[in-house]
Symmetry: C2
Subunit: 216 residues, 2 copies
């Protein structure tokens, strides 16, 4: 897949060797992340809102209530920043200075538009539902006309993007390796526990495989 | 603890019953979150950057490289938005429309200032290190003069804040409870795996209790 051109906006300036501009690196981070943080500007003030997203090609999809400030901003065509962060571990160096985290993050910039046609809204909601739990859309009751009408859906075209990744053990100053201080990585993992049935579940209905064996 | 006044900026407008303005609700979310997402505006464009934070009273602390765009913005005194998100579960309703997530999130607004004195910088770095792993500061090699000089540290005063929380099972439309569709919650948990020793670890040095039994 092609690359995004590093610009003033998306160039990784701190520790540039951790920076990536390839879709092949950036898009899997977007897809693995359950949620993202959407940044927009209103009256000169920054807002950062966590929300569910889904990606298809170079498009991101979002949904929300019609009155949602975030949805209005995404649909407005203003430049939006969307950030995706996966935490992989605490990195404990011998020195506090070199202590860090292992992570995979992606920052994208783009402009959005509202989806208004019933078919395009329905298609985006399917992608969003499948992003959360692949296999759910064919199982669940789809939106009816009233729900579809009450839901704002927007599409954002990814115009610029970068990823920043840190992996591996700590890197200490040469002199510090002699210190009798423990150093290493404490791995972090998003774990899914066994599903909890809705207390109002109909008798005989059991959790589907895509929930019992959920993974991302 | 006192409350933050709901304003145009911080009021939870969508599903207001999920909104909270009490420090007693907001601050534990900030403290449990390993990282946050910092939002700022540069040349009218929003930026959202994941970073490590720590809180003490109504102050948040951040650190980074001196040349970091984020650190310059936090230190500039401009209004910054910082968002903290804890994911607790996927909420699978019978209808896609009522499907959701269980989460605890906090959004704060404030203005920062750079910390410049050695003592105040060192105190903030201790709070940041202890936020990541309580007990680490007394164990690790503290910053030396050169490292301290090369690290930008900023303090941000929380001026406005809100939390949004969803818990519990899905809420479906009355008619949908009759559908033979599984519904429930898939709980999510941030799990810490056994620590991985640095390959260059000195013989006989073992991981401390606060790492082996790490929890937040």
């Amino acid at each position: 897949m092609s690359e995004f051109e590093p610009t003033t906006q998306n160039r990784i300036r701190r520790i540039p060797e951790r920076g990536h501009y390839d879709k092949a690196v950036i898009y899997p981070i977007i897809d693995e992340a359950l949620i993202c943080h959407v940044g927009f500007v209103e009256n000169g003030v920054p807002y950062v809102i966590p929300t569910i997203h889904a990606r298809s090609g170079d498009k991101l999809f979002f949904h929300g209530a019609k009155a949602s400030r975030m949805m209005k901003q995404i649909a407005s065509g203003a430049t939006i920043c969307v950030t995706f962060t996966l935490l992989d571990g605490l990195v404990l160096a011998r020195s506090t200075f070199h202590s860090s985290m292992n992570y995979r993050s992606a920052v994208i910039f783009g402009r959005g538009r509202p989806l208004t046609g019933e078919a395009e809204k329905m298609a985006a909601l399917e992608i969003l539902t499948e992003h959360l739990a692949r296999g759910r859309w064919p199982d669940a009751r789809p939106p009816n006309a009233k729900e579809l009408n009450g839901t704002a859906v927007a599409e954002l075209t990814i115009e610029s993007a970068s990823a920043k990744i840190r992996t591996g053990p700590p890197g200490d100053d040469e002199a510090d390796y002699a210190l009798p201080i423990w150093a290493g990585v404490l791995p972090i993992q998003q774990q899914y526990l066994p599903p909890i049935d809705d207390p109002k579940l109909n008798e005989g209905v059991t959790a589907p495989d895509y929930i019992v064996n959920y993974s991302r």
